[in-house]
């Protein structure tokens, strides 16, 4: 039993109270925190096989090293988030090994194949920027002490991933011709993919436990704006076209395409002409998961049974 009622804990965290132990949490607080941490952990974990598969396209041994350093960071971040979940009584073992691939809670973007070096660096520039946008908001606002402390390391390293992405985007765009065309193609599918990642618009989201319990500070639409504040100028400075612009009058970024809209994962194509679809249709697409879902999940866990059998003195099954 928590020492607080739901109303008390909401009031306390609004006043700056930091929760340090599971014993202090109400059921509602704990539930919201577990959802948040599961999404965070699964996202970090699934970025690893996505980046690992793409790292084979690294153009040199040096770039292999930096690509793999990023993968190593992502796995460590996943491990840290799963560790925090364990302290809340959730089994990491069950989360990582006991779920079906479609039950993982990472965004749809990490169900997609990254098929060349341009796609990997745009993933670093866009997806990792989304990661920093979300997690630095959590860092600045969270009422859960252990998570705030864990994020010091995570934010520091995500910033490096982002730099890696931006530096390489700049280099490819300067090269022009085919390099630039590959870059633009990656931007074309990954820009809308990242915007969708932030979820339901505020006018449709009735209630957010994560805001009530101060597990984050900004709403989905505000986070989308923060992401565009860096990403749209980045694209403009590189001469890349991105489907959004700044509206001087309303002082905000506006999308130049129907949002949300349908996505053809095979063709990596957003159907702007098909017009706006409902968020229920988006949720259906997310629930069905994308083309790489099973491959990514199994690639991080396929050998586990084998080594466990060796350690128990048995030949692998």
């Amino acid at each position: 039993m928590s020492m607080f009622t739901e109303e008390e804990i909401k009031k306390k965290v609004r006043e700056g109270y930091m929760v340090e132990s599971v014993e202090e949490m109400t059921e509602g607080y704990k539930k919201s925190l577990i959802v948040q941490l599961t999404v965070q952990a699964d996202t970090e974990l699934m970025s690893a096989p996505a980046y690992w598969r793409a790292a084979q396209h690294a153009p040199s041994t040096n770039t292999q090293v930096s690509a793999h350093a990023i993968i190593q960071d992502e796995l460590a971040h996943a491990n840290i988030a799963y560790r925090l979940l364990e302290d809340l009584g959730v089994s990491k073992e069950k989360l990582v090994y006991g779920r079906e691939p479609h039950e993982f809670k990472h965004p749809y973007g990490f169900d997609q194949p990254l098929d060349n070096w341009a796609e990997l660096v745009v993933a670093n520039g866009f997806f990792d920027r989304a990661g920093i946008t979300l997690l630095s908001d959590v860092y600045a606002n969270t009422s859960y002490g252990p998570l705030k402390r864990a994020l010091v390391k995570v934010d520091m390293e995500e910033t490096f991933h982002l730099r890696h992405g931006e530096v390489w985007m700049r280099r490819l765009s300067k090269a022009g011709d085919h390099a630039r065309e590959m870059l633009q193609r990656a931007v074309d599918w990954m820009f809308p993919m990242t915007l969708e990642w932030f979820g339901l618009p505020d006018d449709m989201k009735r209630h957010s436990g994560q805001l009530d319990y101060k597990l984050k500070g900004l709403t989905n639409d505000q986070l989308r704006q923060v992401w565009m504040q860096s990403t749209v100028p980045l694209c403009e400075s590189l001469g890349l076209s991105a489907p959004a612009h700044y509206d001087e009058e309303n002082k905000e970024f506006v999308l130049d395409y129907p949002f949300p809209c349908e996505y053809d994962a095979e063709a990596k194509h957003w159907d702007f002409e098909g017009g706006e679809i409902s968020w229920n249709q988006v949720f259906e697409r997310w629930k069905a998961r994308g083309p790489m879902n099973e491959w990514y999940v199994e690639s991080v866990r396929k050998s586990r049974g084998q080594v466990e059998a060796w350690l128990n003195g048995k030949a692998a099954a």
Binding site: E20, S21, V22, E23, E24, Q72, A76, N79, I80, R83, E86, D87, K92, R149, A150, K153, M156, E157, R304, V307, E308, L311
Partner: protein
């Protein structure tokens, strides 16, 4: 795999305090040292240590991750 929790402490520079920076799950202390060094590589630490969580004895709190190790917990409660 049976893994235990190890808490990780580190000091950035000479004269700095030793602070709790995180945790790793490992099968034994030897692997915990390796995991900690590889995982928490965001700084060039002057000093890093790992401590099995079961070895951390709380002094003044009865909740949180170390509560299970409280001395005389049973007697206190009984």
């Amino acid at each position: 795999m049976k893994e235990a929790v190890f808490d990780v402490f580190a000091r950035k520079d000479r004269g700095d305090p030793l602070v709790h920076i995180g945790y790793v799950d490992a099968m034994d202390a030897e692997l915990a040292r390796v995991y900690a060094w590889k995982t928490y590589d965001e700084q060039n630490w002057f000093e890093m240590c790992v401590v099995p969580r079961t070895a951390i004895i709380p002094v003044n709190r009865t909740d949180g991750p170390f509560a299970a190790n409280a001395l005389g917990r049973k007697e206190g409660e009984g």
